[in-house]
């Protein structure tokens, strides 16, 4: 039977099968709007950049990002920038002459 199968972190090699078999049926997870919760994501990104795990902080968001690579890409980019900033790896001046 088609059950409410828990999300698998193992992606099927075929995107169609992955979509059919592995994606969650939790509508709240699927329809979570990364764009509308911008500020919450900013806070989460700060905490992840500081070493916390997103799966502990907000498992539903992590699951959402497992399915939607666009959201994941944007979140990971922000975390990377915050980490670089913390570690002093940002350029002192991008247009330095």
């Amino acid at each position: 039977m088609w059950g409410e199968k828990p999300m698998s972190n193992d992606k099927h090699p075929d995107p169609l099968m992955d979509f059919l078999l592995n994606w969650t049926f939790n509508e709240e997870v699927i329809a979570m709007d990364c764009r509308d919760c911008c500020e919450q994501l900013s806070d989460l990104a700060e905490r992840v950049a500081a070493g916390e795990n997103l799966s502990d902080l907000m498992p539903q968001l992590e699951e959402h990002m497992h399915h939607w690579k666009d959201c994941r890409e944007e979140f990971e980019a922000l975390v990377a920038i915050l980490k670089a900033e913390q570690e002093g790896r940002l350029s002192s001046s991008p247009r330095k002459e």
């Binding site: 039977m1 088609w2 059950g3 199968k5 099927h12 090699p13 075929d14 995107p15 169609l16 099968m17 992955d18 979509f19 059919l20 078999l21 994606w23 049926f25 509508e27 699927i30 329809a31 979570m32 709007d33 764009r35 911008c38 500020e39 919450q40 994501l41 900013s42 806070d43 990104a45 700060e46 939607w68 690579k69 666009d70 890409e73 944007e74 980019a77 922000l78 990377a80 920038i81 915050l82 670089a84 900033e85 002093g88 790896r89 940002l90 350029s91 002192s92 001046s93 991008p94 247009r95």
Partner: protein, 221 residues
């Protein structure tokens, strides 16, 4: 190029309230400081985190970072009152800038992509799915083909045209949602819902055909 000088050496550190006060007052130094911070963040992202841009020169990356930062600054100023202080102001601002950068890069990468071309010939699904492990025996191979035939039929019979197109582009081809949303005249939220409904319809169709998740999963492993 990327020294270890901290941005605090270059710009004034402000609290969230100070940022808001100074920016609401359109204080030149605050605008300049914020733009510079955004520019550094975006330049870092473009130059260090994007392997697809490695062929661009430093000058080109700097120009991109400058343009994106300018656009981001305008967007931040237009949305200043939506900031609720739940994160550092600069993190909130960086998020807006990085989202803008990624959106611009996606649009540039897929500027020649056409959803119409993708679905024009009606052949969206592969005849067989990719699998792991050793090649299947003839019986398994036949079973897989049969299941793919049912899945193809489910696509044709269970989905609307829009669901069909969105699913083909996003779930199967990996086209970014922003690109697909723009071409379909919709937004990311609506696409989430569209694909969710499409998947539910597909699975209901397959279930009605007697194809269970476990069976398909085992067959295509």
């Amino acid at each position: 190029m990327y020294g270890s000088t901290r941005m605090t050496d270059q710009t004034i550190e402000r609290t969230n309230d100070e940022w808001l006060t100074d920016l609401r007052a359109m204080q030149t130094s605050a605008l300049s400081d914020l733009r510079e911070r955004l520019q550094r963040s975006i330049l870092y992202y473009l130059s260090q985190e994007r392997s697809d841009l490695r062929d661009l020169s430093t000058a080109e990356l700097e120009q991109m970072a400058e343009d994106i930062s300018q656009d981001a600054l305008m967007r931040i100023m237009a949305n200043l009152e939506t900031f609720r202080g739940e994160s550092q102001f600069t993190t909130w601002a960086n998020r807006i800038a990085v989202r803008l950068a990624i959106s611009d890069l996606r649009r540039a990468r897929y500027k020649d992509f056409s959803l119409d071309d993708l679905t024009a010939d009606g052949e969206i699904l592969p005849a067989t799915a990719s699998t792991t492990g050793s090649p299947p025996n003839p019986e398994t191979s036949t079973e897989r083909n049969d299941v793919m035939t049912v899945i193809n039929r489910a696509f044709e019979e269970a989905l609307t045209e829009r669901q069909h197109r969105a699913l083909a582009a996003i779930a199967l081809q990996g086209i970014p949602m922003d690109v697909v949303a723009e071409q379909m005249g919709t937004n990311r939220n609506a696409l989430y819902k569209l694909l969710h409904d499409a998947r539910r319809k597909l699975r209901a169709y397959l279930e009605a055909e007697g194809l269970s998740t476990d069976y398909i999963m085992t067959l295509f492993q």
